[in-house]
Each structure stands twice: as structure tokens, then as C-alpha cells.
């Protein structure tokens, strides 16, 4: 079955079996291995991508269900010239990652948060990121990174 998706602004078509998840199509068919597959049952959040601007778990979605929709993955965050997205820069600067496995999921969830709410409080960040697990950082630096990115994106000094 041919599935056409807009992935990071580019129309991509993959020939897939209906039982293949969006996460597997992104990774195995389209070579976008930035989306990580962790628990495969909707708990860890590592596979988070945006579907028409909304964060979803790509392991709980068949690729055919997303046909014709706009998918944004972590590869779509940085600018074409490689300049990091403010969230990526802030995760780097605030040490918001250690092993990095969970990072793409956190970045995409945080991206949706800042699209909706450019000035979140610490508590709002924690609540929003409650569906993503990190086994390294203890979350503090991740929360700091999102707040730093929000501040920079608002153009604050």
C-alpha cells in the first residue's frame, strides 16, 4: 500500500504494509532515525512526532492512518543550513540531555508546548512533559532547557 505523507515539508511516498507503524516507516523506509522507539506502548514518549502540528506517539499510529497529513520529526527542527532550533540549542546549553535517547521526544513535545504557550511556567512545562520519560537527567535540566528556549524565543535579554 502506497502512503504519501508530508514529512518536514517534503512530500514522501513509501510502499508499506498496513500493519507498519508511523515510527517504523519514518525510521526504516524514510531513513529518519531521529525518531526513537522505546516502549512501543505509549508510555515513554521517545517516538513523539507532530502530526498536523499536534504531538502524537508515532508507535501508536499506523502509517496509513497518517496518509496525507503533515508529519514533523526532530530532523525538521533545525534550519536547512544546520542552525539549531532554539530548543535544540537550549538543550545543549542547559545540559538537557545525557544519553540522548529520549531527547527527540522531549524536543517535539516541547515544540508543541511553545507553539501553544510561549511563556510557560516551570509547573506548566513539567505538566506538559509528563508523557515523556528520561532515565538519565532527573528532568531538572530538561525543564531548565525548555524555559531557557522559551525565554530566548520570546526575545528576552
Amino acid at each position: 500500500m502506497d502512503v504519501t505523507l508530508s514529512v518536514n515539508g517534503v512530500s514522501r511516498t513509501a510502499s508499506v504494509e498496513p500493519r507498519i507503524t508511523l515510527a517504523d516507516v519514518l525510521r526504516d523506509e524514510l531513513g529518519l532515525t531521529g525518531t526513537h522507539v522505546g516502549c512501543e506502548h505509549g508510555v515513554c514518549g521517545a517516538c513523539t512526532v507532530l502530526l498536523d502540528g499536534r504531538s502524537v506517539r508515532s508507535c501508536l499510529l499506523f502509517a496509513v492512518q497518517a496518509a496525507g497529513q503533515e508529519v514533523t520529526t526532530v530532523e525538521g527542527l533545525a534550519a536547512a543550513d544546520g542552525t539549531l532550533h532554539p530548543l535544540q540549542k537550549a538543550f545543549h546549553d542547559a545540559h538537557g540531555l545525557q544519553c540522548g535517547f529520549c531527547t527527540p521526544g522531549f524536543l517535539m513535545a516541547a515544540r508543541e508546548l511553545l507553539d501553544e504557550n510561549p511563556s510557560p511556567t516551570e509547573s506548566e512545562v513539567r505538566t506538559w512533559l509528563s508523557g515523556n520519560l528520561c532515565r538519565c537527567t532527573g528532568y531538572q535540566n530538561i525543564v531548565d532547557a525548555v524555559l531557557l528556549a522559551a525565554e530566548r524565543m520570546r526575545g528576552a535579554p
Binding site: 500500500m1 504494509e17 498496513p18 500493519r19 507503524t21 512501543e40 506502548h41 505509549g42 508510555v43 514518549g45 513523539t48 502530526l51 499536534r54 504531538s55 502524537v56 506517539r57 508507535c59 501508536l60 499510529l61 499506523f62 496509513v64 492512518q65 496518509a67 513535545a109 508543541e112 508546548l113 505538566t127 506538559w128 509528563s130 508523557g131 515523556n132
Partner: protein, 287 residues
């Protein structure tokens, strides 16, 4: 496995009539978990996410109809005035889950832990089912017939749920091991129906299906009347009365020990949830 991607309701109903074994899937947050764990291997799926008729809600003739395809994110954004609904929607999973998970999914899965179900029960909701043969509806307690069992026929789809608008304060609260991403150990929806001068309490996760605490409801309504609080929102109930209400609420529970908690803990949780929910509702009326 075949996947059907109908774009209209008639198309979906025709597919379901022809392939009654096909599993309906919307957000996938229940169905996909079972598939990924190989607990369930459907031969066919019918994707319902493209069907506009299921993704609507509307006010009609003193009632509200909530389509099966409305997500919990949309309930929070579009129906914040329905306080108990908002509170239940907010406790479902995480943002990524709420962006996909639907009310129809809670009804289809029919788990006693479905967060929307006590809210539907407290609103005396009726479940609307459709098939190529026509439409029918069942009261929530006729629809939810057991643990993960409902009264849906193989050729039917869940269209949504409908209830008479209730005027008065209400809440949904639940107990679990953390605030997010948790399947409840006990959940409770309480509504004060100012017009009928009635109290409605529904419990989740503490019996094979959702249960109403009818005896506690009658007790609370009578105590509110005795205190004169239906007419005078400033009138209060004593701590002792609230505590007794909690005890009567837990009388409706038939909990079991399982991986998430013991029956004893669940009974205690119902006491506390009931007492708090009635106190909140009375405080809301005082303004």
C-alpha cells in the same frame, strides 16, 4: 491485516456490515497497545479518524451530543464549561495521548478504568450506536455490560454519547500513583443537579463496570435539603455528614486486589474522593 480508510460515515457503516470482524480504530491508544504487545491480532482495522460525522459535538434541545471521535484535547479546549468533563479529560494520559485518544475509545474498550465513563454515568448518558441497519441507543449501564465488554453489535459503530444538560457544580477526581500517565485505582464523578435537587455519584475502577452510588446520592440530597442548602447556598453540611457520605459512597464499590492497588485501598479512596467531591460542589455553590 487489512486496513480500511473510509472517508464518510455511510462508507464506514457499509464496511463494518461487510467486515463485522474488523476492529474500529481511532486514536489507537488502546487498540495499538494490544497489537504491539501481540495480545490481539485483528484481521482487519477500520480507521475512523477521517469521518467528520464522528468528530463533532453539539448542543441540541437541552441535551449535549459528544461524537465518538472527539479527542480529549478538544474536550479541554472546546468544552471547558463542562467542568467534570474537562477534569476527566485532563487526567487522560499525557498531551500526546489526549491529542489522539477519543471518548469512543473509552466506550469501545469498556474498561472500568476509562476516565470518561464515570462522567458519562453521572450525566445519565446514553450511548448512540449506528449501523447500516439504522441507529439505536442504550443507557450507559445497558451499554457497559462487564469488564471490557459492551453491548455493541458486530456491525455497529459507536456514534457518540448524549445527555441532558445538568445545571449545577460537578467534578471528576481520581487516585493513582502519579498525576500523569496513570490508569486510575479509583475515579469518581459527582454532579449536583440543581433542578432535580439531586446528587449524582459515579465510580470507576472499583467494580467490573462503572457503578452509581445510589444510596449515597439519596443520603446527600436529603442532607442538603435538611440543611436548607438547596435554597440557601451559604448553608453547609457538617464534617460528620460529609464523612458519612464518603462511607456510603464506598458502599457501592465492589473492588478487587490487582496490580494497581488493593481492594482495601480502593474502598478507602472512595471514601476520601466522595467526601472531597461533595465538599467541593457545596463550596462552588457558595461561590
Amino acid at each position: 491485516m487489512d486496513v480500511y480508510l473510509p472517508r464518510t460515515l455511510p462508507e464506514a457503516l457499509e464496511l463494518k456490515a461487510r467486515h463485522p470482524e474488523a476492529m474500529p480504530i481511532a486514536g489507537g491508544t488502546d487498540v495499538m497497545v494490544d497489537i504491539n504487545f501481540d495480545r490481539h491480532r485483528p484481521t482487519a482495522l477500520i480507521d475512523l479518524t477521517r469521518i467528520p460525522e464522528l468528530a463533532v459535538w453539539r448542543r441540541e434541545d437541552g441535551h449535549i451530543f459528544l461524537g465518538a471521535g472527539v479527542t480529549y484535547t478538544r474536550i479541554m479546549q472546546e468544552l471547558p464549561g463542562l467542568r467534570a468533563w474537562f477534569q476527566a479529560a485532563r487526567t487522560v494520559g499525557s498531551p500526546q495521548i489526549r491529542n489522539r485518544a477519543t471518548v469512543g475509545g473509552n466506550l469501545g474498550t469498556a474498561s472500568p478504568a476509562g476516565d470518561a465513563l464515570p462522567v458519562i454515568a453521572a450525566h445519565d448518558g446514553e450511548v448512540i450506536m449506528i449501523s447500516a441497519r439504522g441507529e439505536r441507543s442504550l443507557a450507559w449501564h445497558e451499554f457497559l455490560v462487564g469488564v471490557k465488554r459492551n453491548a455493541l453489535h458486530p456491525d455497529e459503530l459507536i456514534a457518540g454519547v448524549r445527555w441532558r444538560t445538568v445545571r449545577g457544580p460537578g467534578s471528576f477526581s481520581k487516585i493513582g500513583t502519579r498525576n500523569a500517565m496513570v490508569i486510575s485505582m479509583a475515579g469518581l464523578c459527582l454532579l449536583l443537579d440543581e433542578e432535580a435537587r439531586a446528587v449524582r455519584v459515579a465510580l470507576g475502577s472499583v467494580a467490573p463496570t462503572i457503578v452509581r452510588a445510589a444510596e449515597a446520592e439519596a443520603f446527600a440530597a436529603a442532607e442538603i435539603a435538611r440543611a436548607g442548602a438547596w435554597d440557601d447556598p451559604k448553608a453547609t453540611l457538617s464534617e460528620g455528614t460529609l464523612a458519612e457520605f464518603g462511607e456510603r459512597v464506598t458502599g457501592a464499590a465492589k473492588p478487587i486486589d490487582d496490580i494497581r492497588g488493593t481492594a482495601r485501598y480502593r474502598r478507602h479512596a472512595c471514601v476520601v474522593l466522595g467526601r472531597r467531591a461533595l465538599a467541593w460542589a457545596l463550596a462552588d455553590r457558595r461561590g
